[in-house]
């Protein structure tokens, strides 16, 4: 479990990126961390990875402190950063030299993921495009079978077919012991992939719920008119009227639309907080 407990962090003590932030991430879930540019998503991930240290509060991952970066912790933790760097070697050499650091690395899985990403074989990593390098790193990260896999903007640089391949590959790599945390500002890339969502804005967590909880409280639908309906949190014009996010008083089922949910949360943070904290 990843436990962030009352964490405050900022690059200067006068301006905090997030303050008294708490969350618990449980194994067997794929979490989506959403937020606007500059909201502090990457900084939060780096705090979790032990690359940055909180000003206050504590982070624990399965009872270990990431900031100590002990080998036993790092063997079970993999971070795919936004800006990737891979050495100038062949893919074969890359796995030959790096995979022994990860005791649960599975080469057949790695090759399977590469095939699913339509990656050419035997290439030198420097000869690959940025998107292809990202696919190598994502495949490697997934094949390490670490208990904690964190991806920072993993879909940046991937073309449209690759984004759906990404969703397929990542969802197949989840197991009951693993936590996958994906940060992105491209909300649609996580459609049909994540099962829980964390929205970070203005140094606070506005939403930290499973999609089931969200669809229980909110309804995503289309209305002919949205102006006089006080259930509506967010609306945008569409061909059939208005696509809306509204309070789900009738307990009707609907599919969570991440992009509209994100806009609704950004437009009505106080109301969202009230809805989700209502008993």
């Amino acid at each position: 479990m990843i436990h962030v407990d009352g964490v405050s962090f900022g690059y200067s003590s006068n301006k905090l990126l997030f303050e008294n932030l708490s969350l618990k991430l449980h194994p067997g879930n794929i979490y989506g961390l959403l937020g606007k540019n500059g909201a502090g998503k990457s900084s939060l991930l780096r705090n979790i990875a032990g690359l940055l240290y909180p000003i206050a509060g504590r982070i624990e991952i399965d009872g270990r402190e990431p900031r100590k970066r002990q080998p036993s912790f790092l063997q079970d933790f993999f971070l795919i950063p936004e800006e990737i760097h891979l050495p100038s070697v062949t893919v074969e050499k890359y796995i030959e030299t790096l995979s022994p650091f990860y005791p649960n690395f599975d080469e057949s899985q790695f090759r399977k993921y590469l095939r699913e990403f339509d990656m050419p074989e035997g290439n030198k990593i420097t000869d690959l495009s940025y998107g292809q390098k990202k696919k190598v790193l994502i495949s490697f990260g997934l094949a390490t079978n670490t208990k904690h896999l964190i991806m920072d903007e993993p879909t940046n640089g991937l073309d449209i077919p690759s984004k759906s391949q990404f969703r397929k590959v990542v969802s197949s790599a989840l197991d009951p012991h693993r936590i996958i945390l994906i940060s992105t500002h491209q909300v649609r890339d996580l459609d049909n992939l994540i099962d829980s969502i964390i929205i970070l804005d203005d140094s606070k967590i506005l939403v930290h719920h499973s999609l089931d909880e969200i669809s229980e409280k909110l309804r995503f639908t289309t209305l002919v008119t949205a102006e006089d309906d006080n259930r509506v949190l967010y609306s945008e014009p569409s061909l059939k009227g208005y696509t809306v996010v509204m309070e789900n008083w009738e307990q009707e089922e609907s599919r969570v639309d991440l992009e509209r949910l994100f806009n609704a949360v950004m437009n009505n943070p106080a109301r969202i907080r009230k809805i989700f904290h209502r008993p």
């Binding site: 990875a49 690359l51 240290y53 900031r67 970066r69 002990q70 080998p71 036993s72 790092l74 063997q75 933790f77 993999f78 971070l79 950063p81 800006e83 760097h85 050495p87 100038s88 070697v89 050499k93 030959e96 030299t97 790096l98 022994p100 650091f101 990860y102």
Partner: protein, 256 residues
Amino acid sequence: MNQVFSFQRYWLLLKLDFAENGRRNALIFGVLFGLMLIMMSPVIDYRKFGFDPIVFHVLAYFMITFCTSLFTSLVFDKYASSNTGINAILIPASQTEKYLAALAANLTFATALIALYVGMHIWFVEILEKEMPGIINKKFHPSFIQLLVYTFFLIQSVCFLGSIYFKKAAYIKTATVFFSALIVFSLINRTYVRNFTNEDPSVSAVPFGQWNVMGRNSIFLIEYSQSTFLLIKIFLVFFVLALWYIAFVRLKEKEI
């Protein structure tokens, strides 16, 4: 699991470093070898030159010392660079292992290069002696070779520390500190020698080196006793070890 040091993880780090940088290092080594060959081989054809080409052997020494110091100053670059830092820091190995792997890679390169230099010097001079029997011995005195080797490693260890001690422009800052310290130390040494010799201007000395007493037509060399010289060498070895240790402490302070 041992969280501080494991031979298996250390070996993996060395293999990783070799895979990532082996080719680049071999290329640099090859270029330096070529340059040394160009600079040091003319001594064989001693007669062609209007001056003593052994001077190029000294210049070759300065060249490899400078180039290796540049190489050394980049030893922790992969941990400091924003591109490579995250990957390098998150490799499942301890700080001690990462530090020792960087040191080993650097020492392998530096030792191979200085050994090659000394070997080439002896080899070329022996060829010359075979070609021209009776020529004045051009081979460096063993104590001078020792001085060159000690100075080489001293400079490398200073650069090794500088590479982790300074955040920006590490090489320039290291060089500034090194040369400043060298000047101060030389001045202190000079004052010390002058005090001993009643300000006699005909006596000069470099730190840890022999004293040169210039007569009218000759130079007398006053060397340290063997035991004192041994102590100086031991001191230098400890000094180098201390610099490596400070580099390790600094690495821990920076929480790399």
